[in-house]
Amino acid sequence: MIGLFAVTALLAIVSAVSVVALKNPIHSALGLVAHLLAISAFFAMMDAHFLAAVQIIVYAGAIVVLVVFMLMLLNLKVESRTKGENVLSVLAIIAGGVFLLVAVPVVREAMDSLLVSGSAGAGGTGADMVAVEGTVEAIGRRLFTEYVFLFQASGVLLMAAIVGAVMLAKRESKPQPRELVHGES
């Protein structure tokens, strides 16, 4: 199990780095797909079957496909870098490293204190996993009873997003005014 975790974690980190580091946006998008699949594998390892499937359907199957689609439509050039930006990236990496230096010990500390006090909720064992099956039935039941208001609200949010996206992306019916603006300036 820990070996599987290590391999998947390596895949997740390498693909995440490739999203940031690769110059061609389509390569970055492919890296993101690999990353999402790795995260989905983690969900499956933690018995969150429903989320693992939804992760692939929604993230990899819809959102990133949309991104790839747009990249193909826009036909962008590869990003070029100036010297100042290289300095910026080095600084950013240093800052990220410092953040990790702080964050990782904090996580360890918090987990250890949980282990000592044994106050980890229903599981009680602290740093170890409790088997709770994220089955479709269980999540659906919670979603339609306790969280039904949030569920409906997210439906409204999606509706608003669709309308907004259509309004934003709609081409102007008359292109003449824009031509005039260009002619004036």
């Binding site: 199990m1 975790f5 997740a12 980190i13 995440a16 999203v19 940031v20 946006p25 993101l32 990353h35 995260i39 983690f42 390892m45 969150a48 429903f50 989320l51 939804v54 992760q55 929604v58 993230y59 819809a62 959102i63 990133v64 949309l66 991104v67 747009m70 990249l71 826009l74 962008l76 990003e79 910026l88 950013a92 990496i93 800052a95 990220g96 953040f99 990790l100 996580v107 360890r108 987990m111 980890a120 909720g121 229903a122 599981g123 740093a127 170890d128 409790v130 709770v132 994220g134 269980a138 999540i139 919670r142 979603l143 949010l157 999606l158 997003a161 669709i162 907004g164 934003l168 992306a169």
Partner: protein, 100 residues
């Protein structure tokens, strides 16, 4: 079983990579993808903590995060397209002007 702290550490690493990407990259779509990386890191820790507590609430939060991410993708990409139409570029440095 894998201890939760490993998952949380991994989540922190991925989140950091996402933050670095947002700071460093200029292409708006890549910045968008780095934001997705950060969201995924948070999702991972949500599920890990949900497992630790033996409750499903964390997984349901992840579900809502995905819904919001989908809405964000639709609106965000539409904005990027309209920016590309008027500026003919989606580099964040080119779109710093306050006029069309």
């Amino acid at each position: 079983m894998v201890p939760v702290s490993l998952y949380l550490t991994l989540s922190a690493v991925i989140f950091t990579i996402g933050v670095i990407g947002v700071v460093v990259r200029r292409n708006a779509i890549v910045v968008f993808m780095c934001i997705e990386l950060m969201l995924n890191a948070v999702n991972l820790s949500f599920v890990a903590l949900s497992q630790m507590h033996g409750e499903l609430d964390g997984q349901i939060s992840v579900f809502f995060v995905m819904v919001v991410a989908a809405a964000e993708a639709a609106v965000g990409l539409a904005i990027i397209i309209s920016v590309f139409r008027s500026m003919n570029s989606i580099e964040t440095t080119d779109t710093s002007d306050l006029r069309l």
